[in-house]
């Protein structure tokens, strides 16, 4: 929760007041028990949410032999980063990482540009048939033809086994368009009108006025779009059966978690590339799985705490309607 200065001051004053009058406002025994239980519950739940990532992480940086024996549970031992290095060199994880990074950047940029522009266009009452076209866009949020027709359509368009299948369908995102439209509508209309009077064209107004002013909402949809792109898995699974080089990181992770045969080949090629000094740190099935998991989750873990307010803004915006 973002708090205003005033609120913070109020809280402080309240706390001071309570300290002073501690005796008068002494909590009852029931209250205290509740407080303890409450704190304990949230502490445990928080640990449950974060510990698995910590556990995976310490297992990827610890001595691989100890990891295989299951000796690393709370504290890392024999720290080394060899797993990450070998992971990038062997197997196809490097390619998958490139594909995922590529689609995340390109897909997000195009989606944000399109959402900003379309969001601006649909606020223009003058547009021919605006209401009808806007409804056409919005209805698609609530209705879809289903998985198989979608798949057949994509293959008809020649988008199976093609990198563009990740990018093009995501450009027009109705929900984000609604968010941008609502935001632009909250910008005072006088700004645009005065620019109009000065002779600015729609494109100029969009570029010089609307785009800079709607940056907060664009940042929010960008961050959601990026996470969505990074996490997407089904499109890779369904649309890329014959193009393993185009599988996303999530898909790769899924394959590695499931298939034992896959792991053997990686392990063989992996041990080849590891030199004698690090012989103890030969990749094993467990470390491979954990390392890919970590590579897949790390960007989100690192970005999230800094972007949290954008995320929270996003869900609050979810309350608006077209």
């Amino acid at each position: 929760m973002a708090m205003t200065k005033q609120e913070k001051l109020d809280r402080k004053a309240e706390a001071l007041y309570e300290k002073k009058h501690k005796n008068r406002y002494r909590k009852s025994a029931g209250d205290r028990t509740f407080d303890i239980l409450n704190h304990a519950f949230f502490l445990i739940f928080t640990i449950m949410c974060i510990f698995p990532f910590y556990y995976i992480f310490i297992n990827t940086i610890s001595d691989n032999d100890l990891v295989r024996k299951g000796a690393i549970n709370f504290i890392p031992r024999g720290i080394h980063l060899g797993n990450y290095v070998s992971m990038m060199n062997v197997g196809d994880v490097g390619t998958a990482l490139m594909v995922t990074v590529g689609r995340t950047i390109l897909g997000t940029v195009l989606m944000v540009l399109a959402s900003g522009f379309v969001g601006y266009l649909v606020t223009k009452q003058e547009m021919w048939g605006r209401k009808v076209w806007y409804r056409c866009l919005i209805i698609t949020m609530y209705f879809n033809a289903g998985l198989i027709p979608w798949y057949l359509n994509m293959s008809m368009l020649g988008l199976t086994n093609s990198f563009w299948a990740y990018i093009i369908p995501g450009i027009v995102a109705p929900y984000n368009i609604i968010l941008v439209k609502t935001y632009i509508e909250s910008i005072p209309a006088e700004l645009e009108e005065s620019a109009m009077i000065d002779g600015a064209s729609y494109m100029t107004i969009f570029r010089k006025l609307i785009w800079p002013l709607s940056k907060p909402i664009l940042a929010t949809i960008a961050i959601f779009g990026a996470v969505g792109n990074w996490n997407s898995f089904t499109d890779s699974l369904i649309l890329m059966p014959d193009a393993p080089a185009l599988h996303t990181l999530q898909h790769k992770l899924y394959t590695y978690l499931n298939a034992a045969t896959n792991l053997k080949s990686v392990m063989n090629s992996g041990s080849g590339s590891v030199t004698g000094a690090a012989a103890a740190n030969v990749l094993n099935a467990k470390t491979i799985k954990y390392t890919i998991s970590m590579v897949t989750v790390l960007p989100i873990l690192m970005v999230y705490p800094f972007m949290q307010r954008y995320f929270e803004k996003g869900i609050m915006l979810g309350a608006v309607k077209g």
Binding site: M1, F34, N38, H39, F42, F45, T46, M48, C49, P52, F53, I56, R68, G70, A71, N73, F117, L121, E126, M127, W128, R130, W133, C136, L137, T140, Y142, F143, N144, A145, G146, L147, I148, P149, W150, L152, N153, M156, L157, G158, I171, V172, Y202, N231, F233, I238, L257, K289, Y290, I292, S293, T296, V297, Y304, P305, F311, E312, I315, A319, K321
Partner: protein, 478 residues
């Protein structure tokens, strides 16, 4: 004056033709460039004209044995490309027709030229089709008469003639005339590309519903021969195997969605109790860490489950070290209480995040209410129960109605990743069933039928929930 009216009428025909021409470039069933059985059945003119390697994917042997000359295929590629460029040009001309007189007049030029180029493309493909008839190995190459080429020729000729007629009918361009498009059409033309994308990716798939009425096997084309009428609809309910499958799948879907609904108050409770913690730093930390799982994919959730519960995972190694069990067990292979487990994973992922909307609502409650209650002697729990909870009920109702509307859409990711051969009976939900039936088993027609039912029921539920919301709250949710 009269001439212009005729031109306006002709423009309507022209625009419809342009749209039809553009659309037909994407429909594989009427692909004239498919002059041989070696060209994929799912290829359209667009795919043939944009990727030479995709077009000639199956021709490697045909080329090396001399069954088909490379020139023939290059002609097919070039012809398709000409058709794409030509029809794109006519479409551009159609867009220009929304402008002033001068722009209209100018717009006829790309229309005429484009139509001519498309015609040339048609003849190139026709030449290639005739050429391929003379192949030394017709059994392998399967030469085909591209009958649909007539359709494209007719469209191109019509566009050519109408554009030329419009050019004659339009008044002469005066010296002071300017290229100009009315604002309303300008805005529409800017919007058009995005509308087209939306139609291609969201409305065009609806055409796929026709597969429900055919005996479709992957790679075949639809024709009168394999038209099956309502066969698959009947099959779904009459065949004992699919019927029991369906019953099981729907039971799973409803059970897991129902459990989700029954526990949807948990995120509200989470928010209320979290707000009872007065230490802001602790609250901040709890909120940050409990929302993270929402932003990782289900595959990663499975990776987490794997790290904690698999044979050599955290729980196993702890238990082994403590001497409780001798060797590690894979708890993920245990198929008991699957519904509850799925619910718990869902809660692990979503609880913290779903609480945020309630936390925001709580901070919006008027503090005077609490103060007044304190003065009246209300305790902490009385305030929670009598002030906080009633204030959150409207939010809760909206979310509950949305959840009811989406009761069939529990997605397939979660259930796909957690599925094992042992738990497939209790874990397969509708979405996953459609995926396995259609993509894995290739039963396109049957799975389309199931998907159709799901889509239609979902929409009905959504409108129902909306109606309920309107009656109860006087506000719609969509």
């Amino acid at each position: 004056m009269n001439k212009e009216k005729v031109a306006d009428r002709l423009y309507i025909v022209l625009r419809i033709l342009c749209i039809a021409a553009l659309m037909s470039l994407f429909i594989p069933a009427i692909n004239p460039a498919r002059i041989s059985g070696l060209i994929s059945k799912t290829s359209s003119v667009f795919t043939c004209g944009t990727s030479y390697s995709a077009l000639t994917k199956n021709f490697i042997r045909a080329f090396s044995r001399g069954w088909v000359g490379t020139l023939t295929m290059q002609m097919v590629f070039g012809g398709s490309l000409c058709m794409i460029i030509g029809f794109a040009a006519t479409a551009a001309g159609g867009c220009m027709s929304l402008g002033s007189n001068k722009l209209k007049k100018l717009g006829t030029i790309p229309s005429v030229v484009g139509a001519a180029v498309a015609l040339i493309g048609c003849f190139m493909i026709n030449w290639a089709a005739n050429d391929i008839q003379g192949t030394p190995n017709p059994d392998r190459v399967e030469p085909m008469k591209p009958t649909s080429i007539t359709l494209f020729i007719v469209i191109a000729v019509l566009i050519l003639v109408i554009s030329a007629a419009i050019f004659v009918l339009l008044p002469k361009v005066g010296k002071d005339d300017k290229c100009h498009i009315e604002t309303k059409y300008q805005l529409f033309l800017l919007f058009l590309p995005f509308l087209a994308l939306c139609i291609v990716f969201s409305y065009l798939p609806l055409l796929g519903w026709r597969y429900a009425f055919f005996d479709y096997k992957s790679g075949q084309s639809l024709s009168a021969e394999n038209f099956a009428g309502l066969k698959w609809f009947k099959f779904l309910f009459q065949n004992p195997a699919t019927r029991s499958d369906l019953v099981r799948v729907i039971r799973n879907t409803l059970a897991m969605s129902g459990l989700g609904l029954a526990t949807s108050w948990c995120s509200m409770a989470f928010a209320i109790f979290l707000c009872e913690i007065k230490n802001l730093k602790f609250r901040r930390i709890v909120q940050t860490f409990t929302t993270i799982p929402n932003f990782i994919s289900w595959v990663l959730v499975y990776a987490v489950a794997f790290a904690i519960f698999s044979t050599d995972g955290f729980v196993s190694s702890l238990l082994v070290n403590a001497g409780v069990i001798d060797t590690g067990t894979n708890f993920l292979m245990d198929n008991s209480h699957m519904w509850i487990k799925m619910l718990l994973w869902g809660m692990w992922k979503g609880l913290g995040w779903n609480a945020i909307i309630y936390i925001a609502a709580i901070s919006g409650i008027d503090q005077q209410l609490y103060e007044a209650a304190s003065i009246d002697g209300a305790g902490r729990f009385q305030k929670m129960w009598n002030i906080t909870v009633p204030s959150l009920i409207p939010t809760f109702m909206v979310l509950l109605l949305m959840a009811i509307a989406g009761i069939l859409n529990n997605g397939m990711d979660q259930y796909l990743v957690f599925e094992t051969p042992y738990n497939t009976n209790t874990i397969t939900v509708l979405d996953l069933y459609v995926y396995k039936l259609g993509i894995n088993s290739g039963q396109i027609s049957l799975s389309t039928v199931v998907g159709m039912f799901k889509s239609v029921i979902s929409v009905i539920l959504l409108f129902g929930a909306n109606k309920v919301s309107k009656i109860m709250r006087g506000e719609s949710i969509i």
